[in-house]
Symmetry: none
Subunit: 126 residues, 2 copies
DNA sequence: GCAGAGCGCTTGCAAAAGTTAGCACCCCTG
DNA sequence: CAGGGGTGCTAACTTTTGCAAGCGCTCTGC
């Protein structure tokens, strides 16, 4: 399975998940519906602009979209932690909270009983 | 001045700064030198792949490159967003949530009355 | 039954992206 | 001065992107 058709399936999945038809998505994105069809079936490689529009309409963040398309290299683990630490727009307290949430998410995924723990309480106090 | 030629001049500037000729950069990036020339003079719009290669050769981080090219919104300027996107330990949903929290934090900081908005509701529903 | 509107898909076609070949202009070095 | 190797740029070509038009299908209302 090529990375191209993986991307296509991901997009199709997200679109179906959002209960949107090809033509509706086409209208929202400004991309033609035949082209969207081809993208979803993995026989065309959309440009970054188109990807941006699709992600925008489907509420998927652009970097996530680019990552799926192989346009953004997957960074080494710890990237999130250091990126948060280096951010100059967050307060120290916010960084701390964000990191705790990040950790709790990762813990969720490695748990045997998934979905049991929730991160809601972590944002209770700003 | 179009955003296209701005990008071109930026690349040229970075290349000159690194003391690299067009052909050398072409070889390093795997892109032909005439095309690089056209990119630098702002009369061609490089794809994200090419941009990635250029940034890679010139030691410019990919998100910064995309940002310069207008392929990434300024609001998701940094490392945090792309780092989250690239993380392979989080589910898509978790990434989305984390990004929303991150955004809400930054919004808090730029508001006139800080602390008014809370991010708690963002984690309410899985 | 049969318009009409929705769905996704196929087919050519225009416009970009990108390449190979070759131009003109230097700066050396024999 | 011939020449080779460096620079960046131009021209013609191939490949890919993205779209308009139209296909066949299904469902609904008249």
């Amino acid at each position: 399975m090529s990375a191209l058709s993986e991307l296509g399936e991901f997009i199709r999945e997200q679109r179906r998940n959002a209960q949107i038809s090809l033509r509706q998505l086409a209208q929202q994105t400004g991309v033609s519906n035949p082209y969207l069809s081809q993208i979803e079936r993995g026989l065309r490689r959309p440009s970054a602009e188109v990807l941006q529009q699709i992600g925008n309409a489907l509420r998927i963040s652009t970097p996530v979209m680019y990552l799926r398309a192989g346009l953004l290299e997957a960074k080494e683990s710890g990237g999130v932690v250091s990126a948060i630490a280096a951010d100059d727009e967050l307060t120290e307290r916010q960084k701390h909270l964000l990191l705790e949430i990040y950790d709790s998410f990762r813990r969720e995924n490695t748990e045997h009983s998934p979905g049991a723990d929730r991160a809601g309480h972590l944002v209770e106090e700003s």
